[in-house]
Symmetry: C2
Subunit: 217 residues, 2 copies
C-alpha cells in the first residue's frame, strides 16, 4: 500500500507529530505548563501555522488564546492520536545484531509496540531470551502468528532471506511489515510496508553536509 494520507491527515503531519511529542516531553520535564504554537514551531524548526493545523487534528480540547496549549493535555492527545495507548503486538524475524538491538530496545513499549517473540534459524541463539522475550525457531512462525493473532512483523533478516520470509509472514496472517533489511520487498497492495531506508537517510544527510561545507568556505 502506498498512501500519502489517511483521511484528512497527511503523511507529513504524521511525521511531525513525534517531533512535537519529543519537544513537549522536555518542556514537561522543565515544568512548563503551557506552550504556544510559536514556541513549538521554533523548537521543531517549522512554521506556527503548520503547528496549529497539525495540533488541530490531535487535540480534543482547545488551545487558549493568549496562553497557548496545555503541555500535559497536548502530550496525552498526541500520544492517543498516534496510537501509543493502543498496544500492537509484533514478532521479530531475524535476531542478528540489529534484531537483538531492536528486541532489546525498551523504548518501543512507550509507543505502543510490544515484541512478543523473536525468530531465527541459528541454533546458537534459539531458546535464549532478550529483554524477557524468547527466541524461537522460524518453523514456529506460522503457529505463533495464528495463535496470538499477530498482525505486525519486524523484518531484520539478511537481505537474501528477506523476500522469502516476508512471503511466509504474509501467508501466515501478517498485515504490516516493518522492513529493516536493505531488500526491496515486493508484496501485495493489501500489505502495509514501512522501509527503514538507511540509504535514503544517509543520502540526505550527505547533501546537507555538502551544503554546509560549501557555505563555510
Amino acid at each position: 500500500m502506498t498512501e500519502d494520507s489517511f483521511g484528512p491527515v497527511s503523511l507529513v503531519t504524521y511525521n511531525r507529530m513525534p517531533l512535537y511529542l519529543k519537544a513537549l516531553y522536555s518542556m514537561r520535564e522543565k515544568g512548563e505548563k503551557f506552550v504556544s504554537s510559536v514556541a513549538l514551531a521554533e523548537v521543531v524548526r517549522d512554521n506556527p501555522s503548520v503547528v496549529k493545523k497539525d495540533l488541530s487534528y490531535a487535540i480534543r480540547g482547545v488551545g487558549k488564546p493568549k496562553v497557548g496549549y496545555e503541555v500535559g493535555a497536548l502530550i496525552e492527545d498526541i500520544e492517543e492520536f498516534l496510537g501509543y495507548n493502543n498496544t500492537k503486538e509484533a514478532i521479530l524475524v531475524g535476531v542478528g545484531r540489529l534484531g537483538q538491538a531492536l528486541m532489546g530496545y525498551e523504548g518501543f513499549s512507550k509507543y505502543g509496540l510490544n515484541i512478543v517473540a523473536g525468530f531465527d534459524v541459528d541454533d546458537n541463539i534459539i531458546g535464549k531470551k532478550i529483554n524477557g522475550k524468547e527466541i524461537l525457531p522460524t518453523g514456529k512462525i506460522a503457529s505463533v502468528i495464528d495463535k496470538l493473532k499477530i498482525k505486525v512483523a519486524i523484518l531484520a533478516t539478511s537481505k537474501d532471506k528477506a523476500q522469502f520470509m516476508a512471503d511466509l509472514l504474509v501467508k501466515s496472517g501478517i498485515r504490516a511489515i516493518w522492513n529493516f533489511t536493505p531488500a526491496h520487498l515486493i508484496l501485495s497492495e493489501e500489505i502495509a510496508v514501512k522501509n527503514e531506508d538507511l540509504a535514503a537517510s544517509f543520502a540526505i544527510l550527505s547533501m546537507q553536509l555538502k551544503e554546509i561545507l560549501r557555505k563555510e568556505k
Copy 2:
C-alpha cells in the same frame, strides 16, 4: 539545518532515488538491459512523470524514446548523484547493541559511508574490533576527529548521553550527525542532523495497518 531542497532538487526526489536504485539492481541481476519510466514507476508505486523528472536530475546521458533508459548507466548515474562514489568517513559513538549492529553492517560501504572507529565508555568492549574497526574510549574522540578531519558522526548512545555527546562532537569539528538515539537534539543551524525516527515510522505503519484492517472487514 532544515532545508526542503538542495538547489533545484527537492527532498522527496532524494528520498525516491534509493528506491529506484534498489529496483534497478534487481533488474540488472535479472539481466534486463533497458527500463522505461512506466516500468520503474510500477515497481516503486509511483507516477511515470515523477520518475522521468527525478531521473532527469541524475542522468548524464538521455533515455531513448521507445526503449527507455539503459539500466547499467542509470545505476551508475544515480549512485554518482547520491554520492555513493565519494566516500565519507565517519565515527560511531555508543557501541551498544545498536551501535554494534551499525558498525557491523557492511552495506554502508556501498553507499559511500566508511565508519573508521567506534567510541564507548564501557571498558569491556574498548579495544575490541567489529568489522575490522577498533573501539576506542570516548576520551579519544576529539583527537581522532581532528587527526582524520572527520565531518560525520553516527550517534547511538543512550538517550541521556546523546545531547552531551552531540555537543562534544560539534565542538571537535563534526558537521553532520546521524542520530539513532530517541533524544531530541538541540544544535546550531550550521550542523546537519538526520534523525532516524522510529516513533514516526511506526506511527505511519500503524496507520496503514489500521486502514488495511478497516478495508478487510
